[in-house]
Amino acid sequence: MSAIVEREWRRFTPAERIGRFAVYFGIVAAIVASLQTVEVIPEFLYDAPEQILDMLRRMWPVAWGFYPEGVHEPMIDSLHIATLGTVAAVFMAVPVAFLAARNVTPYPWLNYAAKLILVSARSVNTLIWALFFVAVFGPGALAGTLAIAFHSIGFTGKLLGEALEEANRGSIEALEASGAPWLSLAIKGYWPQVRPAFWGIVLFRWDINVRESAVLGLVGAGGVGMALDTALNLFQWERAAMILVAIFAVVVVAEIATTQLRKRIL
């Protein structure tokens, strides 16, 4: 009887507890080390509320009249960049996703190569891709579209590859048994199974790309960011405010549209 009473129940094994403690310790150490060494000038922080008020005062009244002459067209360009970039990304990501999915491509070295492509595409930020493409194609929407496309490969390809790996073997095996070639396998075997995931991924990525396309202009890659950059460089804060309001409106509308579409499709 006493043996049962004295038994101490613990949620985690000692190894688990050591692992968790190590992680907590590492996180706290990283935060403390960062806070102690990061170069922050405290005087700037005390000044911040005043500066923010000053900025808001310069932004008011918003230059509403600037919208038709200087914001509308670049804004439409931004939307085109986001959409075309997403389309191009999907075209490039689908083959890589097929290579990355272990059940579709049974060669581990090909899987790893495809995953390396996906991770590298994702690690280089859209703006950094944009800098590359501006150097190659010159400033303009083409550089922006390609930047969006190449960065999005990583995200779309990874999620699509995971969706393919979760596809049910049954219908694929049935098609294989009937002697279907690989294209039929892809179109009639995998596509119907990944279709909902595919549209979800594409819509989600488009939503992100609408936000990203608004800042591409800061490095000269076209869209509404170029107008924002000009306004900021000339300290025309009331125009900058107009552009920010326009971006806000478009982003909110895009988010509502994608949520509604997703409800319809899924």
């Binding site: 688990e16 692992g19 968790r20 190590a22 992680v23 990283a30 935060i31 960062s34 806070l35 060494t37 990061v38 170069e39 922050v40 000038i41 700037f44 922080l45 000044d47 911040a48 500066q51 923010i52 900025m55 360009d77 085109h80 960049i81 959409t83 075309l84 389309v87 991770v119 994702r122 690690s123 280089v124 930020n125 859209t126 703006l127 950094i128 800098l131 590359f132 150097a135 190659v136 194609f137 010159g138 303009g140 929407a141 083409l142 579209t145 009639k188 936000r211 990203e212 608004a214 800042v215 800061l218 490095v219 076209g222 924002l228 900021l232 920010l244 971006i247 806000f248 982003v251 909110v252």
Partner: protein, 263 residues
């Protein structure tokens, strides 16, 4: 028998609505591409430039590694501090925003804050903070903190709203005060999901902290942008390779951490 020969059911009947939609979409793609003036000639010129550009990227030049390390360390610091601040702010905010635990007057403003934080791209927020607190790492930290609040807050709120209320009721029935309800009934149910969200957001912050420097908010981005403008393409290549390695290392590390917490 006649019925069987007469039926012309196809195994895969054509979906004309879908085909029309695809056609319309194709027309749009061509319209948009011509609107943005994408021409084959531009691609041809670009490819020529591209070959020259790529040949100047290699071999990467690591001679100025001190500058590189300084920028990378600052990016790391920005990512760590911004993630920590983001978690500290978004966890209580998510608790307020959860509609199953809080009345409407508390959840509505909390949700509005999150939506506002999520709307603008971190780079735009960084521009505004550069104006407010000057050039440097502080602007980057604040910008990424705002981005983290928007993103983590949304995910955490959804996680809290999906918990089982039975445990909450059980703890409440013992007469426990609100904080005990949170720590004994809510946190254990969402903890492992939070670990997943936080590690994802830390990865995202690391990626973005290499970029905010382009608008003067600290980190390697400033060095990269300057190298681009001076056409130091071999140094650019060194920086980008380092960024890729660092981000991959970060992803492996967060994967390990998730394994420790069995997410």
């Amino acid at each position: 028998m006649a019925a069987r020969t007469g039926s012309t059911d196809l195994a895969f009947p054509p979906n004309w609505w879908a085909r029309a939609a695809w056609l319309l979409f194709g027309v749009y793609v061509f319209y948009a591409a011509s609107h943005l003036e994408f021409t084959p000639a531009r691609f041809a010129v670009g490819l020529e430039h591209g070959a020259k550009f790529v040949s100047r990227l290699f071999p990467p030049d690591f001679k100025r590694w001190e500058l590189l390390v300084k920028g990378m360390v600052e990016s790391l610091q920005i990512a760590v501090v911004a993630s920590a601040l983001g978690v500290l702010i978004s966890a209580p905010l998510a608790l307020f925003a959860a509609r199953n635990l809080m009345p409407v007057w508390a959840s509505w403003p909390a949700r509005a804050i999150m939506v506002l934080c999520r709307t603008f791209h971190p780079v735009i927020v960084a521009i505004l903070f550069v104006k407010a607190v000057g050039f440097g790492a502080l602007a980057g930290i604040l910008a990424l903190t705002v981005a983290s609040i928007g993103f983590l807050g949304k995910l955490m709120t959804e996680a809290i709203e999906e918990i089982s209320l039975k445990q909450v009721e059980a703890v409440r029935a013992t007469g426990a005060p609100f904080l005990s309800v949170v720590s004994y009934a809510v946190v254990p149910q969402v903890f492992s999901r939070f670990v997943g969200f936080i590690s994802y957001e830390t990865d995202a912050n690391l990626r973005n902290s290499t970029m905010v420097g382009i608008v003067g908010a600290g980190g390697i981005g400033g060095t990269l942008f300057a190298a681009f403008q001076r056409f130091d393409y071999d140094f650019v290549c060194a920086i980008v390779l380092t960024i890729i390695v660092l981000i991959m290392a970060g992803e492996i590390l967060t994967m390990r951490i998730k394994r420790v917490f069995k997410v």
